[in-house]
Assembly symmetry: C2
Homo-oligomer: 447 residues x 2
Amino acid sequence: MSQTVTDFEVHDIRFPTSEQLDGSDAMNPDPDYSAAYVVLRTDAPDGSDDDGAGIEGHGFCFTIGRGNEVMAAAIDALRPYVVGRPAPRTAADLGALYRELTHDSQLRWLGPEKGVMHMAAGAVVNAAWDLAAKHAGRPVWQFLAEMTPEELVSLVDFRYITDVLTPDEALEILRTAEPGRAERAERLRAEGYPAYTTSPGWLGYADDKLVRLAKEAVADGFTQIKLKVGGDLGDDVRRLSLAREAVGPDIRIAVDANQRWDVADAVEWLTVLAPFDPHWIEEPTSPDDILGHAAVRAGQPVKVATGEHVANRVVFKQLLQAGAVDFVQIDAARVAGVNENLAILLLAAKFGVPVCPHAGGVGLCELVQHLSMFDYVAVSGSWENRVIEYVDHLHEHFADPTVIEGGRYVAPSSPGFSARMLPDSIAAHRYPEGPVWQARRTPEEAN
Amino acid sequence: MSQTVTDFEVHDIRFPTSEQLDGSDAMNPDPDYSAAYVVLRTDAPDGSDDDGAGIEGHGFCFTIGRGNEVMAAAIDALRPYVVGRPAPRTAADLGALYRELTHDSQLRWLGPEKGVMHMAAGAVVNAAWDLAAKHAGRPVWQFLAEMTPEELVSLVDFRYITDVLTPDEALEILRTAEPGRAERAERLRAEGYPAYTTSPGWLGYADDKLVRLAKEAVADGFTQIKLKVGGDLGDDVRRLSLAREAVGPDIRIAVDANQRWDVADAVEWLTVLAPFDPHWIEEPTSPDDILGHAAVRAGQPVKVATGEHVANRVVFKQLLQAGAVDFVQIDAARVAGVNENLAILLLAAKFGVPVCPHAGGVGLCELVQHLSMFDYVAVSGSWENRVIEYVDHLHEHFADPTVIEGGRYVAPSSPGFSARMLPDSIAAHRYPEGPVWQARRTPEEAN
């Protein structure tokens, strides 16, 4: 029985979210949440996909609109590395694919290991994980958590991080967590993983909507919410004050500046916001500014979080080395997929810094829950002080959407990476030819 | 008279350089030097382009082959920001275009300010500089060096660098250099700008070719050459020893590892190479690893240089803050064009660190000479300890190629950025449809 990747489809999918100001913040006033989406088709028979074809691997990059076609072109550039290849199954297969995509000497010039080309590699790597986990009949978190420490270490590219984490140290971290895996997996299935919600806090929402949504979040069982800040200091003080009043003193309120500030601005602004006890400040400045984050952390009392725009493990390594962050915010689709995120989870574990993933957008909650759950079961062994971001947008477009109960992510049980978008959603939102976008064309554009 | 950008052409141009191992190094064994090339056409009449059309602006990103089509797609995504716009003329115009391209909230998500999308912005910004300088009838170095300190400061995006360099400090640097501008411009025209050559040292060259080319370089007047290292320590010792014997003790020999090492490898390897007195070690490790470069610099005696793959001014800022580099190696086409390189020149001047640009590839010598010459005339005011890289490949494809005399770059006198590739070269090397590539198709590909 031949089991080969036979085809590679790329779709430019966009949602007109800017119309509602969902997702609006100090740097991103009008995002149209989008995905450059890849499907790996195979001739491996399976019933898990409802179209009767072979097992498929689904993956994507998240963008906020313009340029999604560039991401799609970058994913398409990876087609020759994948089509005709045996369907990846094992840690060895997945390690080899990741290395080929990120080490190709010519493509590497376009980063290296950053930006469009690196995110494209991440989409394909994640699609391969979806495929392999489906073949194994496991959700990705469990597929990972059943690998041996040696297999997990073989997935990681240690290049440029051995000054801080060697393969032996990684093995030691994973072996230490090994005895408790079964017990924690059971507890995870029973209790779910802690979440927080950003839905109340978009910058474009009116005060009454903010207050209403904040109260609803608490009623729904969330113990942490997040507000966007950084547009106007007076507005931030008012909104944070209203939110604190709405949720009371025991609910954590994180704030997120989306890279709005220089170092001195951040220190000054946060000194004013500190009395409202923000749980963390997220992205106070450029995601490339390791020393800047360290200065912001040293210069005011609010704890510092970043990571959703951090390009790769080398920058995360330095954020940890420099003592620049209190929380590491991985993103499932910014770095080169599961493999690179595994390196980042191990780096964070080495430093004892909690990982609190970025999510939201299109499908980011669906993906990243698997990484935090795996981290709990087999890496850090803890969910203390850890939460996965949750935003209640666009889940209806996924075949295996996240389930939140009592402010916690329910552990996925379906095989794969929860990455599969519904065929009708893909068809409707393809850009620019899908009906959702055709209906929005101006008369001039339609001619 | 209307003077508008009327059209925007993008070409995927590749040269089959891998066939000769030109450009081979420890990380890039078989580069096909390529350019994603953009032409801004206008309706501004001028005789400076020989096709009789309006003044054109030419710009490009350099890549090493695969993925050049992704760069072309990224440049194409910028078309709506340029076509229909008044042809840029002034510092204000060029500052506005740069900010629009790098601050677009949706496109910014694809970096931010790094990788494919950022290099594409650089190509378009540089094409706009070519256009504006042609309109002014000046080579770009002179066009820049005739701007007031205030105009120059207005070109810079100080976001994320004010903790190290404020607009007032930048103005002070530029004002200090102002009185000597005319004298230095005259000296530059008379003497040219110091260069060094990498042509002897490609990793794929045999020892006798290395020795012959090293001796030729000295005979040609170069006082510095560069060798690629990092493949095999024994080979490096032999090659460095042969080169030192060929050129004698007074010629500088820089070495370049092209990101091959982790920190400990770099320290160990360089400790062995140090007795051969390498002038600098270039790219010892990941271009993202600021703290790693600082550790390499502290851990062994060879001076450290990097920059050709440094994504933006924020990373350069930190390399300087951390005392991680002895030489700043700007690249004309990696960051967002002249504007961002101006920020980097100012940061280097603030720290008193010499700028020694990366060049070579396709057209990078042609572009970057303008930036070093401007730096000499109007920013640092010095060429002591400063050299521009020179590689003698592919200049024949340019309408206004670099001229090297006695180991120095002759100051360009033609208007523009020396960026214009000859129409026949473009036609021959378009990928995959140009005759150079059609002739290389296998029988299978041709069917």
